[in-house]
Amino acid sequence: MSSRVYGIDIGSRSIGLVVLGEEGVEHSLSVPTTYDVLKQCRAVLEGVSGCLAVATGYGRKLFLKEFGVPGRFGRVLDITEIQAHALGARALYPTARTVLDIGGQDTKVIAMTPGGKVVRFEMNDRCAAGTGKFLEFMATALQTPLDRFGGFALGADKRIAISSMCTVFAETEATTLMALGERAENIAMGLHLAIAGRVQSMIGRIGCEPPLVFSGGVARNPCIVRLLEEGLGMAPLIPRDPDLVGALGAALHGKALLSKQSSLEAV
């Protein structure tokens, strides 16, 4: 039987897939979640087969319910995003002690022991303050494509404080600044500063041990990365595919279970 394992991270904004074979990552991809989550899951899994699937992210329970019946993927399990990101980050950076994951609707900070065991985590409550969603809203308000928003903000010539972290109120504050004739780049910088400040205080509550791995889609935003580096006094490590760290961690969890099982069978 194939020992191929795959991890799927069903987030609010994107679905990531990582397929692990004998030799490591065989295949990976990321697609937008859309409103039809299961349809996207099916599309992502097209042509994929394995003996174990591990789901994580917001849609993990839905996935379990839909694909949990024995079939193409063998067994299906789920783990929380906290474990998945910790496992994924440690695989990419074996000495990592802290993980910051800013996704579409959640921000998480995870502290690990030197051995890689999760000891504490902080997670935002239901509000979108300081998440990818916040950036998405603000990019729209400033008519900038989301993937260019960070670079746009780096064109600021001064730093304005935006005091509101509430997505709706921050937009109001930005609108007020626009009406006062403030440069859009400076407003964008103010919004990025607001997020970085909030994330730093979350990290502060956990206590940041370096190295810090920055995962999740927002890690692609160069302005957030630079502000965090300034604020924390250390450069976060950024994976090549930050939005696949959760899926990688989920797949690794599956691999670990398989090898534990086969070692038991060997005994």
Binding site: D106, F121, M123
Partner: protein
């Protein structure tokens, strides 16, 4: 397996109104109460019927928010929403209401409620000590006089002492039932535990309720002896602390148990906090009631060292593996106490605490599920 006697508790709240009908017809007044500080013994001694009022569901909150600010605790908004929408049958049945000035939000809500039904306010001191006890005894006396004049019945010392004895017996039996969860395999899930203790607020006859508790205790004790458990083996043992929970606001307890944990003890005032304290059955009964309630380690008290010592005791007795501290949004006193509780539980007992701040809505259910599952993974 679930104990068979539990079924009798499930329907108690629904049967309450039918059960009190003949008593109402015979002229008994119904007194609606909100909080553990309310001395139900005085109500019964006046020949009236105490009943817990609704305030644990999301449904009436939008109506309440027409008057009350949205950033107020859901318990207050829900209570008020039920009162003004006429959707709480117990509120509808109540002739009188009693409120205690436990927190700022509630005491201001009572001012609005007073316009809906006759309302008596008891002014609660926020500290223990001789002066506070004397003052609170005086508040007991004022409530006694209010009840006497409303019902036309005199509350005798002997009558009151008898009600204290009955309520003490109920508390002893509840403690005996809950105590069974301290064993290795709890015969009772947290949700069942909640239902059993909550039923106390909806019984027409506390003596009959005591008899039911006695049967339940006996059945559970037999289950425990036979090694039969009401929960899955290997479930993580959780100590719940913080704000009260009940039917309708059991979201966090449900998520914990769905995620493979079991609430073995609830320190909150819907749990052990209030069953733990007995009133003195001799001496001046008003002083006994004042003394008992003033010792409740509610976060409105300052300082509130009693909560930490109760947590210490529950930790020793129930051997939890983790602590969940639940705060309803905008419940400032419990929210402020949270870091203290977390530090104490970790420092003294090496136990991690998950602090959850939420309301009665289902909006954050999946988010909470992730946090709860991740917390259980850490234990």
């Amino acid at each position: 397996m679930r104990a068979a006697s539990l079924e009798r508790f499930d329907g108690l709240a629904d049967r309450f109104l039918a059960d009190i009908e003949p008593l109402k017809e015979a002229g008994a007044l119904v007194v609606g109460i909100y909080c553990t500080y309310a001395p139900r013994e005085l109500v019964s001694a006046a020949g009236a019927l105490p009943v817990g009022l609704c305030g644990k569901k999301q449904a009436p909150i939008p109506a309440a928010e027409k008057t009350l600010p949205a950033n107020l605790c859901p318990l207050i908004k829900s209570s008020y929403g039920y009162a003004i929408t006429g959707t709480c049958p117990y509120f509808a049945a109540a002739d009188l209401l009693v409120g205690e000035t436990t927190c700022d939000g509630k005491k201001k809500m009572y001012e609005f409620l007073g316009a809906v039904k006759p309302m008596h306010i008891m002014h609660l001191p926020f500290a223990t000590g001789a002066a506070q006890e004397a003052y609170w005894t005086q508040e007991m006396r004022r409530f006694k006089e209010f009840l006497e004049s409303a019902t036309g019945n005199r509350i005798t010392e002997d009558g009151l002492r008898e009600e204290i004895r009955v309520q003490n017996e109920v508390r002893r039996l509840l403690a005996r039932v809950l105590k069974l969860s301290s064993g290795a395999c709890s015969p009772l899930s947290g949700l069942d535990m909640m239902a059993v203790s909550e039923a106390k607020s909806y019984v027409a006859d506390p003596r009959a309720y005591a008899a039911m508790l006695r049967d339940l205790a006996a059945e559970l004790e037999a289950m425990a002896r036979a090694g039969q458990s009401g929960v899955a083996t290997g479930a993580r043992r959780i100590l719940l602390t913080g704000c009260p929970v009940g039917r309708g606001s059991e979201k966090v307890v449900r998520l914990l148990e769905e995620s493979g944990a079991v609430v073995v003890a609830a320190e909150n005032c819907s749990g052990v906090k209030s069953f733990d304290l007995l009133a003195d059955e001799s001496g001046d009964p008003l002083v006994a009631l004042a003394r008992r309630t003033l010792c409740i380690p509610c976060s409105v008290m300052t300082p509130n060292a009693g909560r930490l010592s109760l947590l210490d005791r529950l930790t020793e007795e129930y051997r939890p593996e983790g602590v969940v501290d639940l705060t309803w949004q905008c419940c400032h006193t419990y929210n402020v106490e949270s870091p203290m509780v977390q530090g104490h539980m970790l420092g003294k007992h090496g136990l991690r605490t998950l602090h959850i701040e939420t309301d009665y809505s289902e909006a954050d259910t999946e988010q909470l599920r992730t946090r709860i599952e991740a917390f259980l993974e850490l234990l």
